[in-house]
Each structure stands twice: as structure tokens, then as C-alpha cells.
């Protein structure tokens, strides 16, 4: 948007909403929203507390292990579905089902099978992230230009060479897009998993704050979690833009 | 221009025609860096087909869109029938490179869309649309959808839509570039026939030298970056012969050759 000839970047509107929040909070209109400034001041308090530190470490650990497993499983799975029609037909409906199904309903099962601990949260992250990574990888592998494959074949490339030197790089933009979406879903998974287990990590903190109506602490924690989610997604997006260079060459 | 091209004098109305479209000192800049057009002065005589020809990036489509009123000029002006152009008008109709057909509408509704926007009642506008669908050779396809048609047939719908609003000036933006070669030739021949029935002024953007020479009364050659008028050529080819004869005519071949020699410097 431009005001008086100056372009105001879109993200500035978040500042605008922050001010609205502050005003609403000061007026005390909605119990739900304490003034943003109080929340921000509480931020330091929350960040410094040992309880938060433990929860953050647990969250990060579960998240990265989960995403790692999701990538390690999802990319080969997507590759298999992209290259083999049989695999695609057998696995396709399940992957498509799980990518849009309300997987939160499965968390109670995971809790029974894996216990009320870290393992459950890791499995939740994997379950949330793996399907979209597989689907995007499959799309990328299917999309590899046939003339590139024919080229590799005509120069006598082995199957392994074709996979590692052609298909992987040609599909990389889609794989990364899938991983970015997987990361976003994984963050939701790590939060939902902890909320449902509710006796450890962030879930315990959220439970504690909302049960005791500590709104400022609650929002401070929420802001931290949102910030982490956006930061993680943005990090992958930057990586993606670098890879877009290849994509531009490929589609150009 | 070669002697041969000058020698073949057509019975064209070029000498008598007064300009319908006048372009005066026209310039166009995108931002502060890119200068697309500089100091264009052109007259487009009534009833003639004028091609804008040039290498890619010479601003020919930009010029056409400014005449259409779809883009504002940075400086200079365009007059149509003596009226200054400030936006699209009823006396001009545009044929789009990518057809711009509504995918959810049938051939009839697409062809009648210009009239629909003008508030013409359904029965009347569909009657007009059917007439022009027949004229462009698509009768029997009235209730088909664009995705059921080939590229050439889709562009025929685009042409019928432009004809249906009964504008004096048809602006065609590379209308055949998304049509395959055989259909393009057929379409070109049909367009020549159509010109004998409908008395329109046509402005035609193309990057094909052969197409320009084959179709045009006048060819405006544009040079690239910034686009300027480098030459205006009148092929003077008699059109009352068969297409094959025209394509073997020495005037046709010589004009193609002349233009190619002028343009080859721009090839990269």
C-alpha cells in the first residue's frame, strides 16, 4: 500500500495490528487480550524461566528428530511413487488420505502405543510432516523433463547416476517446497502432540497458563511458538529461493 | 524497397484513404529504466491492413495495447476517428494472442460477450454472434466449450467476438502465434477472404515476415530498444489470385527478402 507516495511494506500491517491489540488490551474490552506491551514484558520472564527452557529444549529435540525422520522416509517414499507406477497405485490413496485427514485423531493411539513421553511427540511430528513431503517429492520426480532423462540414457548413464545426478536435482525445488510445508505441519504436530500429552514440555506450560488464567504468560508463550514456526518456514523459504535459480534455468 | 515490389501496383484504395487511427509523438516508458517506444508517428488508413513487424522486444504489442487504450502512453497521443484515446472504446475491438476466451462459457456466449457487456438482450446478441461464428467457419460448434476446440478454432472465436461488436478498427495481437502452422496458413487465407466481406481497418502485430507480407497492405517495421519506426513498406501484392500464386509471386518473395535483410542485424 502507498500513503502519500510512500510504499509501506506489507509486514508493517502487523505493527498496525499490534497497536490495535495494545489499544484493545488497554481498554480492557476482552479478557482474552491483555495489552500487548504487558505480553512483551512477560516475554523475558517466560524466556528466562527454567520451565520454559526445558520445554523449549524438549520441543526442539522432538521437532528436529521428527522432521529428520519425516524427510528420511518421505523423500524416498515420494521418489518410489514417482518412479514406480505400481508403488504409486498401491500407496497413492493412503498418502493422499493422510495428507488431508485430521491426524490429530490418531494422537490418542500414538499415546497408547508409544507412551506419554517424547516418543509420542516425535511420532506425531513425523505423522504430520511425512505425507506432504512424499507427495511433493513424487510431483517433482514425475515432473522431471523426459528429454533430460532421455539425454542421460543416451549418454549411457546408470540408474544410480540418473537418480543422483539428474532426478534429484531436477526435483529439488519441489522436494524443498514439500519440506517447507512439512516443517510448517511439523511445528503444528509438535505443538498439538504436546497439548494432547499435556504432561510435559510446552503442553504442560500451556495447560498451566490457561488453567490459571495467566493471559500475559499464555500470549507470550504463544508469540514465541508462532515466531519459531514462522522462522522455521522462512528459513526453508530462503533456501528454496536459492534453489529457484535452478528451477528458473529448468523451466526457462 | 525493390523494383519488383514497386512494380506490382495493386488496385488498392491506399491513395484515397484517410487515416482512421493517428499516432502522434508517442513514447512509452516502464519505470525510469526501460524505454519501450520512442517518438512514434503513424497513420493507419481506413480499410487497410497494417502490420506492426519487428524483433521481439521492439514494443509492437505495447504500441497496439496503447492504441487499444489498455495501456497509458507516457507521452504523445493516439486519435481514433479524430477522437483522443483515453481508454478502450466501442470503435476498436481487440483480438488476443492467448485468445482470452472465458473457459466456462460456450462458443456462442464467448462470441457474444462484447455485446453482453454492452447490455444487448440475449436473443439479439446471440443472433449476431451466430452470424459471425458462421462467418469465421465455426457453425456447428456454437455450444462447445473452448477446451473442446483446437487453437486455431479458439482464435476464430476470438475473431468472431471482435467482429460481433461491429467496431471500425480490429486490433490483432499476434493472433496466430499460438496456432499450429497448417491452421495458421488456412486462417490467414480465411482472414483475406473475410476482409473482402467486412470493411474494417486492421492493425496486426506479428513477428513473422512471411505473414506480414502475405496479409498486409502496409508493413511498419519497428526497431528494438527503444522501439522506433524504422521503415514503412507497402508490398503492393495483388490479392485476387490463389494463395499459392501469391506465395510464389516475385513481389511477395522480394519483399520478404528486403525485410529480412533489414531485420537480420537485430537477430541474436
Amino acid at each position: 500500500m502507498t500513503i502519500a507516495g510512500y510504499r509501506i511494506p506489507p509486514m508493517f500491517s502487523l505493527i498496525f495490528w499490534a497497536i490495535v491489540w495494545e489499544i484493545v488490551g488497554r481498554l480492557g474490552l476482552v479478557f482474552l487480550f491483555p495489552p500487548l506491551s504487558h505480553v512483551v514484558m512477560e516475554l523475558g520472564q517466560v524466556l528466562g524461566s527454567g520451565q520454559f527452557l526445558g520445554a523449549a529444549l524438549l520441543t526442539l529435540k522432538c521437532f528436529f528428530i521428527g522432521i529428520g525422520i519425516a524427510i528420511a522416509v518421505g523423500v524416498p517414499l515420494g521418489y518410489l511413487m514417482g518412479r514406480s507406477d505400481t508403488a504409486d497405485k498401491l500407496l497413492g490413496i493412503w498418502v493422499n488420505l493422510f495428507v488431508s485427514a485430521p491426524l490429530s485423531a490418531l494422537v490418542p493411539v500414538i499415546m497408547i502405543l508409544f507412551g506419554m513421553g517424547e516418543a509420542t511427540i516425535i511420532v506425531t511430528v513425523v505423522l504430520f510432516a511425512v505425507w506432504i513431503i512424499a507427495l511433493d517429492t513424487r510431483a517433482g520426480v514425475r515432473d522431471v523433463s523426459p528429454s533430460l532423462l532421455a539425454m542421460a540414457q543416451s549418454f549411457g548413464a546408470t540408474r544410480w547416476q540418473t537418480t543422483t545426478k539428474i532426478i534429484f536435482f531436477a526435483a529439488l525445488p519441489e522436494i524443498l517446497a514439500g519440506i517447507r510445508l512439512g516443517v510448517i505441519r511439523g511445528v503444528k504436530g509438535v505443538v498439538i502432540g504436546q497439548l494432547l500429552v499435556s504432561i510435559l514440555g510446552l503442553g504442560e506450560l500451556f495447560e498451566l497458563y490457561s488453567r490459571n488464567f495467566l493471559m500475559e504468560e499464555f500470549w507470550a508463550l504463544t508469540l514465541i511458538v508462532f515466531g519459531f514456526a514462522l522462522g522455521a518456514a522462512e528459513l526453508i523459504a530462503i533456501l528454496e529461493r536459492k534453489i529457484d535459480f535452478y528451477a528458473g534455468v529448468r523451466h526457462g | 524497397m525493390t523494383a519488383a515490389a514497386r512494380a506490382v501496383r495493386a488496385i488498392s484504395s491506399a491513395d484515397a484513404a484517410k487515416p482512421v487511427v493517428e499516432v502522434r509523438n508517442l513514447g512509452k516508458r516502464y519505470g525510469s529504466q526501460v524505454e519501450a517506444l520512442r517518438d512514434i508517428n503513424l497513420d493507419f488508413p481506413a480499410g487497410q491492413l497494417t502490420s506492426l513487424l519487428g524483433p521481439s522486444g521492439c514494443g509492437k504489442t505495447t504500441l497496439l495495447k496503447i492504441i487499444a487504450g489498455l495501456l497509458p502512453a507516457t507521452n504523445g497521443e493516439v486519435f481514433v476517428n479524430g477522437q483522443k484515446v483515453t481508454g478502450p472504446g466501442p470503435e476498436r475491438a481487440f483480438v488476443f494472442q492467448d485468445f482470452a476466451l472465458l473457459p466456462w462459457a460456450t462458443v456462442v456466449r464467448n462470441a457474444a460477450f462484447g455485446l453482453e457487456l454492452r447490455g444487448v438482450p440475449v436473443a439479439e446478441r446471440e443472433k449476431t454472434a451466430r452470424h459471425y461464428i458462421d462467418q469465421v467457419g465455426l457453425s456447428g460448434f456454437e455450444n462447445r466449450y473452448p477446451h473442446e476446440l483446437s487453437g486455431g478454432m479458439r482464435q476464430r472465436v476470438g475473431l468472431a467476438r471482435a467482429l460481433a461488436v461491429n467496431a471500425d478498427v480490429l486490433l490483432l495481437d499476434e493472433p496466430f502465434s499460438a496456432v499450429d502452422e497448417q491452421n495458421r496458413r488456412k486462417f490467414q487465407e480465411d482472414l483475406l477472404k473475410l476482409r473482402q466481406v467486412e470493411n474494417k481497418t486492421l492493425i496486426f502485430v506479428t513477428h513473422s515476415i512471411e505473414e506480414a507480407v502475405y496479409l498486409s497492405d502496409r508493413i511498419v517495421l519497428l526497431s528494438p530498444r527503444p522501439g522506433r519506426v524504422s521503415e514503412v513498406i507497402e508490398p503492393r501484392i495483388s490479392r485476387d489470385r490463389s494463395p499459392d500464386q501469391i506465395r510464389r509471386d516475385s513481389a511477395y518473395l522480394d519483399t520478404v527478402e528486403t525485410i529480412w535483410r533489414g531485420l537480420r542485424d537485430y537477430a541474436d
Binding site: 493412503w94 490429530s104 | 487504450g69 481487440f94 473457459p103 460477450f113 466449450y145 473442446e148 488456412k186
Partner: protein
């Protein structure tokens, strides 16, 4: 142009018919493959349950029988009604508000500036974290569930509406202007029809997100509906019943979303219909 272009027209139609014929034959085999895939999945489940890999992992056949039991005693249908009510209300409200906001953001720059970043944040962030709060504020009734559905469904519906309007073919818009269409005509005759497939796709994603919202609300705090059924049978170690409830709601969500996808293709994508 009296000369008919017979050869070309016939060619086009033939090509279309050929395409339809090949997809028709592969359509049957796709169905067979799906059946095979489902049978294999159930078989694997049955075997894993019989080994058993875990005491809390019943074989498929027992889950099917449990499904029969909870349907027969009426708990599953009742739970479904409890779950669907807030879902339908929430999705309806999110759709109405989301489409208006999304289209508005696509058409007007100030709305885009003010709204898009907020929805982008809402979509990327784990909004589920707010559900416990909502339940504490609005109690454990219908309101809390409806709100949970809305906060999860609204961002994707609004953002899809926005993107849909932004992705309308510029050449169609130019066409409308060149044939003297007014702004109103441009919006109603070109922009909205061209945007509707993507708006509808947003609706589908919104419903998918709404399912997550309502189930989370039920699992987390509000002890009603399917969520309660799951929690209850887990607490008394009726694992087969629990699996049946979970599988039912997941399948129900997947089938609903799948049906919407079919409707989407039938309504908006004439060019894709024969490949569906």
C-alpha cells in the same frame, strides 16, 4: 470464409475422443488398483494385530466388529451428530467471512495490506495452541467448538480467495476492459467465475482444517462427540472401539474432502472432467 475447415475440425474432435477412450480404460484399472491397495492395507493391519505387535493394537477384524457394536448401540451416530453440528456451523461462518475477506483483499490494495500478513501468520502458526484458551473462556459448549473450527478454517479459506482473485488471468481482465466492461461487470462476469475453482479449493481445505479443529477441541477439553468417544474407550481400555471411532472419523473426513474434490472438478473444470 465460406470454405469449411473440415479436416481441421474433424481432427480436433477425433483427438478429443481418443483421449477420452484411453482414460476410460485406465479408469477401471485404477479402481482395481485401489481395491487391491485397500485389501493389502487391511490384511497388513490384521496380521500386525494378530501377532500382536502391541497389546493396544487390535487386528482389523476386531475393529470392524467394534464398529458394528458402537453403531448398533447408537453411541457412534450420536457422537457424529455432536461433532458435525459445530463443524457445519463453523465451516459455514468461516466460509462466508473468509470468502468475503479473501475476495476483498484480492480486489482492494488497502485490505490486502491490512489482511494478508495476518492470515499468512495464522496459517503458518500452530493456531491449535489457542484452543485450550478458547475452551477456558467460552466453556465447554458449542461456542468453543465452533470457534476452534473457525480459527483453523478461516485463514486457508481467506488466503485461497485472495490468491484466486490475484491469479485471475490478466488477459481475461484486459479482454473485459477492451470490450468496455464496467468494474462491476469485470468482477461478476470475469473475476469471480475465473476465481471460483480456487475459492472452492480453499473451502475444501477449510473443511479439512475444520475437522482438525473440532476433533482437537473435543480431545483437549470439551468432552463430547467423537473426541469423547475416543477418550472414553481409551480410558476403559476398549481399544477396538477406540480404533473404530478414530478410523471412522478419519475416513469420514477423507471421503467428505474427496467428494468435494469431485464436485469441484464437475462444477468448475470442464477441461478436466473427462480425465477425472
Amino acid at each position: 470464409m465460406s470454405v469449411q475447415t473440415n479436416s481441421q475440425i474433424a481432427g480436433g474432435v477425433d483427438a478429443a475422443r481418443e483421449g477420452a477412450a484411453t482414460t476410460a480404460t485406465s479408469g477401471e484399472s485404477i479402481l482395481l488398483w485401489r481395491l487391491a491397495s485397500i485389501v493389502l492395507f487391511c490384511l497388513a493391519w490384521e496380521i500386525a494385530g494378530r501377532i500382536p505387535i502391541n497389546v493396544a493394537f487390535p487386528p482389523f477384524s476386531e475393529v470392524v466388529m467394534a464398529f458394528g457394536r458402537i453403531v448398533a448401540d447408537g453411541t457412534l451416530p450420536a457422537a457424529f451428530l455432536d461433532t458435525l453440528q459445530p463443524l457445519v456451523i463453523g465451516v459455514f461462518l468461516a466460509t462466508a467471512v473468509g470468502i468475503v475477506m479473501g475476495v476483498g483483499m484480492g480486489l482492494r490494495e488497502e485490505l490486502e495490506w491490512a489482511g494478508v500478513p495476518v492470515f499468512v501468520v495464522m496459517q503458518a502458526a500452530p493456531m491449535a495452541a489457542l484452543i485450550p484458551l478458547i475452551t477456558f473462556i467460552y466453556g465447554i459448549g458449542l461456542t468453543a467448538k465452533v470457534l476452534s473450527v473457525i480459527i483453523l478454517a478461516l485463514p486457508v479459506i481467506a488466503l485461497n480467495g485472495y490468491k484466486a482473485v490475484r491469479n485471475v488471468s490478466p488477459s481475461l481482465r484486459a479482454m473485459c476492459r477492451s470490450f468496455l466492461g464496467s468494474r462491476r461487470q469485470e468482477i461478476f462476469k470475469v473475476i469471480l467465475p475465473d476465481a471460483s475453482p480456487m475459492i472452492f479449493a480453499g473451502l475444501r481445505l477449510g473443511i479439512s482444517a475444520g475437522f482438525v479443529g473440532v476433533i482437537l477441541a473435543e480431545l483437549l477439553i470439551t468432552p463430547t462427540g467423537i473426541g469423547d468417544l475416543i477418550t472414553y474407550h481409551r480410558s476403559i481400555a476398549n481399544y477396538s472401539e477406540m480404533y473404530a471411532a478414530i478410523a471412522t472419523i478419519i475416513l469420514f473426513a477423507a471421503i467428505t474432502v474427496g467428494l468435494l474434490e469431485r464436485i469441484e472438478i464437475a462444477l468448475f473444470r470442464p477441461e478436466k472432467k473427462e480425465h477425472a
